[in-house]
């Protein structure tokens, strides 16, 4: 009981504290490839700490919903961090709160809240970005759901931890349906975390999608939203790694849990490297091409679903 408690703490804290680091590393690498020395890999932390010290200016249109929803969004990501194998490979406390599909719905919840709260600022630029985010959600959310079911249909359970074990079996890992699902999920990850070729955070307002949702925020709420964003990237990325891409090598026990943070770090360097190559090699797609990009991911995931039932029929 005590050990499971500790493992829970390690996983939750691990997610919250480590997640910004990976964005920092990716930015640093990107800067280096762009022949710059680049910022510190701890820059995300510096930004967050500074923002926590700053005042919050709020548009006169907004109410306290605008100010406090970021806290809810942040905590939603904490909940998710308890239910999917993002650090520790065995179920931990409260893991049964939701299954994989439930997790997907929680991601949608966070996204929904982010958009609604941002809309309260009454800014046209926010509306512009929200409109884009919502227009793509029908492909984004559905792909997330179908991808999660892709593994569920093979393992016969929607329990992410069992799926994680299952993925380690070679003949399953190399099966076509699993590969398709993996590709689909990777494309989705690029979209959900605002990476090229879908999005890149520049200064041009008319190109914003996710950046628009934090456009009106400042101070603590902004810090929480940014941090939440890092957690989202970490959570989705870790699922991608542990259930699809590199399910191996996770350790058990309290000490194991500690090691797992390190093991995850190594896995992440691998994922970040792929992201680096893509982010430094591609340009941003035209807005309406983004849906084609997502549609490909969606069709891939459905194909994987169909394959998984038909080939094992």
């Amino acid at each position: 009981m005590i050990s499971v408690f500790l493992e829970t703490i390690i996983q939750a804290i691990g997610v919250i504290l480590v997640s910004p680091l990976y964005s920092g590393i990716l930015d640093k690498w990107k800067a280096n490839v762009a022949s710059r020395k680049g910022q510190s890999i701890f820059q995300p932390y510096f930004d967050i700490f500074k923002l926590l010290k700053k005042e919050t200016t709020v548009s006169s249109n907004a109410s306290s919903i605008f100010i406090y929803t970021p806290y809810v969004v942040f905590s939603t990501y904490i909940v998710i961090s308890l239910v999917i194998p993002v650090v520790y490979p065995e179920p931990i406390l409260l893991t049964p709160t939701v299954d994989f599909l439930g997790g997907a719905l929680l991601f949608s919840l966070a996204g929904f809240l982010k958009i609604i709260e941002a809309m309260e600022s009454g800014s046209n630029f926010v509306a512009l970005g929200s409109a884009r985010a919502t227009s793509f959600s029908f492909l984004g959310e559905s792909t997330l759901i179908t991808v999660f079911f892709a593994v569920a249909l093979i393992t016969g359970t929607n329990n992410p931890y069992i799926e994680h074990e299952f993925a380690q079996i070679p003949q399953y890992y190399l099966a076509l349906d699993h590969i398709l699902a993996t590709v689909a999920f990777f494309m989705l990850w690029l979209f959900e975390t605002g990476k090229l070729p879908v999005e890149s955070s520049g200064l041009a307002e008319l190109g914003m999608i996710d950046d628009a949702l934090i456009y009106e925020y400042s101070g603590k709420p902004l810090a929480l939203l940014k941090w939440g964003g890092y957690m989202k990237q970490y959570l989705l990325g870790s699922v991608l790694l542990n259930v699809f891409l590199l399910p191996w090598g996770m350790q058990l026990g309290v000490l194991g849990a500690m090691e797992d943070i390190g093991i995850m770090f190594i896995k992440w360097l691998f994922l970040l490297f792929i992201a680096l190559v893509i982010d430094t090699s591609l340009a941003k797609l035209r807005l309406f091409k983004v849906q084609d990009f997502l549609a490909v991911a969606f069709v891939l995931s459905i194909t994987s679903l169909l394959l998984s039932v038909i080939q094992n029929a």
């Binding site: 919903i65 905590s75 409109a131």
Partner: protein, 569 residues
């Protein structure tokens, strides 16, 4: 008798109907079987909408008696023991509805469209009952040994629910769009509910018929997709909600489909609970949303006059999030359980048949995406995004419903009586988890709405405790240094989809307007038939640089083919 009273004094009439509704709810609780749930749901809806009407009704003396008569009719239909009682109630429910829509006439068509389809459905239902009578020689609802009546009646009810292929985009939105908000609420929330109730009742009395199940499943799936899509691009404050009703009815229908296919006893039972959960989620949240549409001034989303306040926003957000199928609201539980049941079926069949439920599930997943989008649009442009702050009793009522929806999420355990579970070792005691299993003991997935709610609350408070409140200063919205001349319109908010899905929606940009075709569905079907031969080649060529509609058409096609395949075999 409240009817007659209401003719003279409408407020009293509404008050009485509210009281009777409470009694009806109590009655439903005492029954305690699946039908009981339907009583509770409709009772609650009537209760809320009656109370709302007290503050809302400004439509002269006729609205309230008609409103109450319609409720009476539904009550009769729901409690009917014989076909005749049912039909009587059905008509008593329907006829005042024509009148209401007629009274509030902006165009002549809505009332007649509504009547026309109403009658068509009645005829089908009537025919079904006649056949049932000839086989069982009893006017009472009794077990049947043929499924013909079920099929006929199902389609009869489906018309009432506005389900594809009965002109997915035509009558329900227009009809409801042009009736007063309180009437729209009972029409949209309970009248369609009665229809669902009818199907369920006949289904339980009839022998299994998997083929019909698969067909309903698919039809439901596409109703969800197109209902949600058209809801998103709809500009009519009530029309949007009506479309979303189609979407929800589609969900209920595909749950019914899952039950009819009867993959395993466990899944079937689970599906039955899904139906009820969805009915709850839809009817009550939809009532609240229609009330919101009753609090705003005007009908075109882009040109509304709005009074907003914090309470209203919170209530609205809760309602909207439930309608978008998000936890911890009951809507989330409903969506979760529907998808689980579909994919459990896919897993258990593990054959080409599975592809039906897989495609349906995927289409539903997309539909849910549109549903969120539609709801974000609706709530943004009726409460959150603009408007002047102020107080209003009407706002208070729907925000209460919002909280009801939230609570219902954590009460949804009661709806899944046979699927309650717990993992004490991981900190969740027995009774706090809803599981989905495909045969007893074989757990597929699980969810704990109560824990989701509590955890989010607790962690939010923790976060607040750790990071503390922000130091706030009010300023103008930052709009590049000046005041924007105009606000971002609701029309523009959904315009990406009009442009992205231009093939599917037939978007035409004219000099002084941008139009989308409303009865696209037939066009699309025709389009598919024409294009199918050269389809695969086209798909390959237009893989990355063509419009999205190809992928949707692809899924529709795949689905239809498989359905036909199954029906033939």
């Amino acid at each position: 008798m409240s009817i007659f009273l209401s003719i003279f004094k409408k407020k009293i009439g509404y008050a009485l109907s509210a009281i009777t509704s409470i009694i009806f709810v109590y009655y439903g609780i005492t029954i305690g079987n699946i039908y009981g749930y339907f009583f509770i749901i409709s009772g609650l809806v009537w209760l809320f909408s009656s109370i709302f009407s007290i503050f809302y009704d400004t439509y002269g003396k006729w609205l309230s008696p008609l409103f109450i008569t319609s409720i009476l009719g539904m009550a009769i239909a729901l409690t009917a023991r014989t076909y005749i009682e049912f039909l009587a109630g059905w008509e008593i429910m329907t006829i005042p509805a024509y009148a209401i829509i007629g009274l509030n006439r902006k165009l002549d068509s809505p009332a007649f469209i509504f009547m026309g389809f109403g009658e068509l459905s009645t005829i089908l239902i009537f025919a079904g009952f006649i056949y049932a009578y000839t086989t069982s020689n009893s006017f009472y609802f009794t077990a049947l040994d043929t499924y013909i009546p079920l099929i006929v009646i199902t389609f009869g009810f489906m018309i009432k629910m506005g389900i594809f292929p009965f002109l997915v985009t035509e009558w329900l939105p227009i009809a409801h769009g042009n009736s007063p908000a309180n009437a729209s609420a009972i029409l949209s929330a309970t009248m369609t509910l009665v229809a669902a109730y009818g199907i369920v009742k006949m289904m339980l009395l009839s022998p299994d018929i998997p083929i019909l199940g698969y067909i309903l499943m698919g039809i439901g799936g596409f109703s969800i997709f197109f209902g949600a899509l058209y809801a998103y691009i709809s500009e009519h404050v009530k029309g949007l909600l009506a479309f979303s009703t189609i979407e929800n009815n589609g969900a209920i229908l595909s749950a019914i489909g899952v039950y009819m296919t009867y993959p395993t006893k466990t899944i079937a039972e689970f599906a039955l609970d899904v139906i009820v959960t969805f009915a709850f989620a839809h009817s009550i949240a939809k009532t609240g949303l229609f009330m919101i549409s009753g609090t705003v001034e005007g009908e075109a989303l882009s040109k509304l006059k709005i009074i907003r306040n914090k309470l209203g926003e919170i209530g609205g957000i809760l309602l909207a999030s439930s309608m978008s199928g998000l936890l911890p609201n009951i809507g989330g539980v409903a969506t979760w359980s529907l998808l689980e049941s579909l994919f459990m079926e896919a897993y258990i069949l593990h054959s080409t048949l599975s592809s039906i439920s897989i495609i349906t599930g995927s289409v539903i997943a997309m539909g849910e995406g549109f549903a969120s989008a539609a709801m974000i649009k609706f709530i943004s442009y009726t409460q959150v995004f603009k408007g002047i702050t102020g107080k209003s009793a009407k706002i208070t009522i729907f925000s209460i419903i919002g909280f009801v929806i939230l609570i219902l999420g954590s009460l949804s355990y009661l709806l899944f009586r046979n699927f309650i579970y717990g993992v004490p070792s991981l900190g969740i005691p027995n009774g706090f988890i809803i599981i989905s299993e495909y045969s007893s003991g074989k757990i597929f997935g699980d969810i704990s709405p109560f824990y989701v709610l509590i955890l989010i609350v607790v962690f939010s408070l923790l976060t607040l405790g750790i990071f503390g409140k922000p130091k706030v200063r009010k300023t103008n919205t930052w709009n590049n240094g000046i005041k924007p001349r105009e606000e971002y319109t609701a029309f523009a908010f959904a315009n990406n989809i009009r442009l992205m899905l231009s093939k599917l929606l037939r978007t035409e940009i004219k000099g002084d307007s941008l139009e989308t075709s409303t009865d696209i569905f037939w066009k699309v079907m025709y389009y598919i038939a024409k294009k199918y031969v050269s389809f695969s080649r086209r798909l390959a060529r237009s893989y990355m640089n063509s419009s999205i509609s190809w992928y949707i058409i692809y899924m529709i096609l795949a689905f239809i083919l498989i359905t036909i395949l199954v029906v033939i075999l």
